[in-house]
Each structure stands twice: as C-alpha cells, then as structure tokens.
C-alpha cells in the first residue's frame, strides 16, 4: 500500500507517543520498529502470508492507543476462572497489568513471574535480546507496532530442572473502550524445566479494539512446555498474536489452541527446532461463525538432527465466516532424520462459509519423514443419516458430528477438566 500513513489505522497507531523506558537500547528499538512500520505500513494480499487475510476494512478504522482507565475498568474476576486451572494468575486489561485481578502471592520455588512494566524497572538486561529485535518485513507490521508500543506483558522464567506443578494462567482482557493495546511476553524455561501455561483471551463488554501480542518463548535443553490457548475474545476484537518459539536440544513443546472469538483474528506461530531431538506438537481448532475471520499461520523450521513436529488442526466455519490456515514446514539442510507431520481438516457448515488451507513442505535434508494433508468438506451424509435413523434430530446430529470432528485434536490434552471445558465451549459455539 502506498503512503501507509494515509491509512487511518496506520496514522492512528503512529500517533501514539512511544513509551519511554529510560533504557537507551529499548527506546532505540522502539523508534526503529516504529519507523519500519511508518515506512512499510500494512501488508496487502500480495504478500504471501497475508494472501487470504485482507486488511482493507480494518485499515480504514482508527484506534486511540493506551487506556488511561485500564486500572479501574470493571472486570469480574470470577468469569476468568477456568476448570482445572488454579494457582498463579496474571491478568492484563487492555494491555495493562492488573494486580487486583491477578494472584501472584504464592509463586512456587523456581518460578519467576512479573509484568514487563515492573521487570523493566529492575535489571532489564536479560530482556535485551528479545526486546531489541527489529522486524523488517512488511508482513511483520503488527510485530513492528507491538515492538514500538508495548509497555507491558509477561516476563516468566522457570529455573533449570524445576517442575511447576500447577498451570500458570495468563489472561488478556479487552474491556469496554474502543482503542488499541499491545502486550509483549518473554518466556523462558530453563534446562529440564516443566511448565503448563494457559493463555486466555477474553473480553468485558464487546468493544471494537485492535490488540497485538508478541511472545518469545525459549524452551531450553530437555525442558517441557505445555501451552494451552483459549481465545474467546469479544466479537469486536481485532487480535494479532505472534508466538516465536525456540526449542533447544531434547526440548518438547505441546500447544493446544481453541480459537472461538474475535472479529479478525490472526495467529502466527513461528517455531524453530534448533536443538537435536527437539519435539513440537501443535493441535488446534478454529471455529469462525457469523462474519468472523480467523487466520492461523504455522511456520515450523526443523534445524537440527532428529527433530519431530506434528501439527493437527481442524477448522469449522459457519454462516459467512472465513477460516484461513497455512502450515509451512521447512526441514533445513542438516536436519537429517527429522519427522514432520501436518494435517488440517476443515468443515463448512454453511454454503457462504469459506476456509482456505495451504500446507507447505520444504525439505532440504536427508532421511526425512514428512507427510501433510488438507481437506475441506461438509459433514458426511452417511453418518448424518445413520444418527437420524436412530432418532437423533438433524440439528443435534450435525452438532454431534461437528463436535466429534473438533474434539479429535484436543483429545490428548492431559488436563481433563480443562479439556472438558474446552469441549463444552466448542459445542456451545455450534449452531443450535
């Protein structure tokens, strides 16, 4: 797009003053990312990774930045509770940390957890690598504006060889006001550490917002991360999330994602398997309905020997909704003996719904096992008739089959209470 600043969205985001940190390197990184955003603007659909997600409509909106009232917005903490998840919780409202809604009192030994706004007041040097990153590509526009503007988020570290028993819950709430907010998360699991992270996106009221989240997650040698994402943002939310995951030798990460909410939702997962025998397992369900648009982009790079990735995603689109899935897997030179498996199956529940899916596999190594597949279809007529012939009404039969289709990829989520909760939410999202 020429003259990026002529677009209301770009102009409004550039209008926000840069947060001042007092840290030279950080302020410089913010300026540079902001300059890159000002020059490049928003990606259009000619950029491959944005081919099916047009930002034309969003580009015409403008959002004020920062919420002066973020500390006083009424949010009912009880609505944030999740079955199977109790213990440490960090809550952000419109991108700002809310101590009153969080519970950080009893941090288990070996877990260090604080909001970025506080972490920057102390020794910020450990954050320097992550936060001084420059995003140069126009496809990274939302990461650029996030790097320029985010002043809060999560800083989490698990000490080496420490197993954190209870899940840690991170909640991002979009509340009331029509504005843009940003959150930057830096997460590290030390060697041999274990953590279950539950990331939740929720809303209070149904404000029209623009939100960006960028997370850097480093999983060190032999560490195990289990990451569950429940995205149930408000129907007015334009939510751009980018997770950059680095897996060192023998590290294992499992990701379960349920995408339910939002108006325009984009999830970028960039995973690099940089250590030998690292394993990544991603599972996800996206269920746009109404006029929702939910886009999932996986970019997985196998860069070391005998690395494994499995990705099983399901999409269900109803009404006039649109789902987008791109799974790009690269097995880099030298990543011999790697195993990559990707599947994306999709269901269209309405003739006006659309799902675009694109699995891509690039292999530059030897002795690699790789498989990918994608399908888009309707519910199996034979199965529907079978259920109906036993007395189950058509609508119920459809819901039963659709829920089964989705649950297939959430079945290996070990937290039973949470798994059943997610299953209930996805059933509730189905047409009655």
């Amino acid at each position: 797009m020429n003259q990026p600043a002529s677009l209301p969205l770009v102009a409004s985001l550039l209008d926000a003053p840069l947060p001042a940190s007092g840290l030279g390197w950080l302020d410089a990184a913010r300026r540079e990312n902001r300059a890159a955003f000002a020059a490049g603007g928003l990606p259009d659909t000619r950029v491959e990774a944005w081919k099916y997600t047009a930002l034309r409509g969003l580009a015409q909106r403008s959002f004020g930045s920062g919420d002066a009232a973020a500390q006083t917005r009424a949010v009912d903490a009880s609505t944030l509770a999740l079955p199977g998840v109790a213990g440490v919780r960090l809550v952000f409202v419109n991108g700002a940390f809310r101590a009153d809604l969080s519970s950080l009192d009893e941090l288990p030994a070996g877990l260090s957890l604080q909001p970025l706004s506080q972490a920057l007041l102390g020794d910020a040097e450990p954050l320097r690598f992550a936060l001084s990153r420059h995003y140069r590509d126009v496809g990274d526009a939302f990461a650029q504006i996030n790097a320029a503007s985010a002043s809060d988020g999560v800083v989490l570290r698990v000490a080496a060889h420490t197993k954190i028993e209870l899940p840690v819950q991170l909640v991002f709430v979009g509340a009331e006001a029509e504005l843009a907010w940003h959150a930057r998360n830096v997460i590290e699991l030390g060697a041999g550490a274990e953590l279950c992270l539950v990331e939740q996106h929720a809303s209070s009221g149904q404000p029209t917002q623009l939100a960006t989240l960028v997370s850097d997650i480093d999983v060190r040698e032999g560490a195990q991360l289990h990451h569950v994402v429940l995205q149930d943002a408000g129907i007015g939310a334009n939510l751009f999330r980018r997770n950059s995951l680095r897996l060192h030798a023998r590290a294992q990460a499992t990701l379960h994602v349920l995408e339910l909410g939002g108006a325009l939702v984009r999830h970028d997962l960039r995973a690099e398997l940089i250590g030998d025998d690292a394993q990544l397992h991603t599972r996800g369900v996206f269920m746009p309905h109404g006029r929702q648009h939910i886009d999932t982009q996986l970019a997985i790079r196998h860069q070391a020997l005998n690395t494994t990735s499995t990705s099983h995603w399901r999409g269900v689109a109803n009404d006039r909704a649109r789902g987008v899935f791109r799974g790009a897997i690269v097995v880099a030179p030298g990543a011999d003996g790697s195993d990559a498996n990707l599947s994306n199956k999709n269901l269209l529940l309405s003739p006006s719904a659309e799902i675009d899916t694109k699995p891509e596999l690039e292999i530059y190594a030897d002795e690699v096992q790789a498989a990918h597949g994608a399908t888009v279809g309707q519910l199996d007529e034979r199965s529907l008739f079978y259920l109906r012939s036993r007395g189950i009404p058509l609508a119920e039969a459809r819901a039963l089959l659709t829920a089964a289709f989705c649950r297939a990829v959430l079945d290996d989520l070990p937290n039973k209470a949470l798994r059943e909760h997610l299953s209930g939410l996805l059933i509730a999202q189905l047409p009655a």
Binding site: D380, E381, R382, S383, F385, Y386, L387, R388, S389, R390, G391, I392, P393, L394, E396, A397, L400, L401, A403, A404, F405, R407, A408
Partner: protein, 284 residues
C-alpha cells in the same frame, strides 16, 4: 363385525367419527402397508410397483437377486435422502410414512439395521445410543432416561444379546470387525425396541458363528407387537430366523410370495424361473 359392535359399545352416544376410530383401534391393523411403490435413485427407476403388507408379530423375508431393489426398499422405508418416490404409498400404523423425516420414523418405531454400518470416530457408542433413545422418548412424550437408568437398561440388553460391554466404550463402529458392526446394529435394536425392524442384509459378511449370534439376537426380540422385514440375498439366515412369509423381489416388485418353503426352493433352483408365470416376472 362382532369386534366392531363390541367396541362401539364403549361409546354409546358416539358420532360417526368415534365409531370409525373405535373400529380402527379394535381390528388388527396392518402395521405396514406398501402399495404400488415406485422409487428412483439417481434418475433410475429401481422399485416398480412394489406392494407388501406386514402385520405385528410377523417376520417377512425379502429375497432377491442383486440389483432387484432390496436395499432401495430399506432405504426408502427409513427415509434416506436421494431416493425419490414417484408413485405409490407407504402407510405405517395408519400414517403416511413417506412424509416423515428419518428421525421421526425412528421415534415412530421404525428401525433399519444397516448393511454397512457407518463408523463415526469421536462419538462414543453409549453416548450416541442414549442420545438416540432419549430423542425418541422425547418425541413420544416419555420421560428421558438419566445416565444411571440408561446404564441399567444397557447392561440388561448386553446380557440378553451376549455382547461384551467393551463395545460400549468405543466410538460408534470405529475399528469394529464386520461381525461386531452387525452385532452392534442388533444391540441398538434391542435398546431402542422398535415396532418395525428392517434388517438390510444383516447376514452378509458374517461367518457362521457371528450369524448364529445375530440370529439369536433377532429371535430374542421377536414378539407379538414387533414385525421384522429381513432383506437378504441368501437363504442361510432363514435357517436361524424362521420367517412367516418369504417374498421374492425381482426387478422392483414382489413377484412371488409364500412361506419358508419358498426360500428353500430358491436355494435349490436359484432366482431364475421364479415368477416366470407372473406378468411382471422379468428377472434381473
């Protein structure tokens, strides 16, 4: 006529409507009445004037060569999409069956045991069966069963059908052997207790032990209130489930009817020649 008089006495001052109703409720009514049924699949006429009457308590075997329309008959009766009825009527307990959705037919007591039961991954067998039974009960105005009541019922039926309860914990038909799928059909029938059970080639693909088990299940469910329509290609099943009537279906219509000896005749002479004396005796 005597029945009619007796019944009318319950309504001493009845208008004609009452008299008609009491008359109908007293005489032994035909459960299923198929008249001159014509049906098409993908534009091709398969049933070409089929007529058949089935009463409660009766077991009818429909036999015929491949392509005669046997499975089409089962599918039309259970309401499968893609089957177009172009002429004729099907009356079930006095109602026009063809206007009902498949689920409504099920609730009214019609059950189809599939020739090829569908595998449904992710849907638990027990959950499915309880949803089905409760959906039917709801339509009939009966109280739905809670999970304890349902489990009790299921355990009874498992015992009667001699089926292991391991089957309950699996997804519907997923990974079942051919014999297990057919037994699961009969088990579902036992739980749902239909009035009219249509068995579509339930014997196909079964070894002799599985066939005996399935037959025993069917025999257990025989009752004066229930009728069976057994669609089969071979006489074999009829050794174990002895029918009251045997019909030969050829080229879309019943060309010959008789008792069980007809099946034996077919076994001996094949379908060629059957119905040859009949004007509609074209054999496929």
């Amino acid at each position: 006529m005597q029945e009619r008089t007796l019944c009318a006495m319950h309504f001493p001052a009845n208008p004609i409507a009452h008299e008609v109703r009491s008359y109908r409720s007293c005489r032994v009514e035909t459960m299923l009445k198929i008249e001159n049924l014509h049906a098409r699949v993908e534009g091709k006429e398969i049933l070409k004037g089929l007529s058949l009457e089935v009463n409660a308590g009766e077991v009818h075997a429909i036999m015929g060569p491949n392509g005669a329309g046997k499975s089409t008959l089962g599918n039309v009766l259970s309401g499968r999409e893609g089957y177009e009825v172009t002429a004729g009527t099907v009356t079930y307990n006095g109602i026009d069956l063809l206007t009902l959705a498949p689920e409504a037919r099920a609730a009214a007591g019609v059950f189809l045991a599939f020739q090829y039961p569908v595998e449904i991954p992710g849907v638990n067998n027990t959950y499915f069966l309880r949803a089905a039974l409760n959906a039917q009960r709801k339509v009939r105005g009966e109280k739905e069963l809670d999970s304890m009541q349902f489990l009790k019922l299921v355990r009874e039926k498992l015992k009667v059908m001699q089926i292991s309860d391991e089957l309950l914990h699996r997804a519907v038909n997923e990974g079942f052997s051919g014999g297990e799928k057919k037994r699961n059909e009969i088990f579902q029938m036992a739980v749902l207790e239909p009035q009219l059970a249509i068995l579509d080639e339930t014997d196909s693909g079964l070894d002799i032990d599985a066939l005996k088990q399935v037959a025993q299940g069917v025999n257990t469910l025989r009752s004066p209130q229930r009728a069976f329509l057994m669609i089969t290609h071979y006489q074999r099943l009829l050794d174990y489930v002895v029918p009251d009537f045997v019909h030969v279906l050829a080229d879309g219509r019943i060309v010959e009817s008789g008792d069980k000896s007809l099946a034996l005749k077919l076994e001996e002479h094949g379908y060629a020649g059957i119905g040859a004396s009949h004007p509609a005796g074209a054999v496929a």
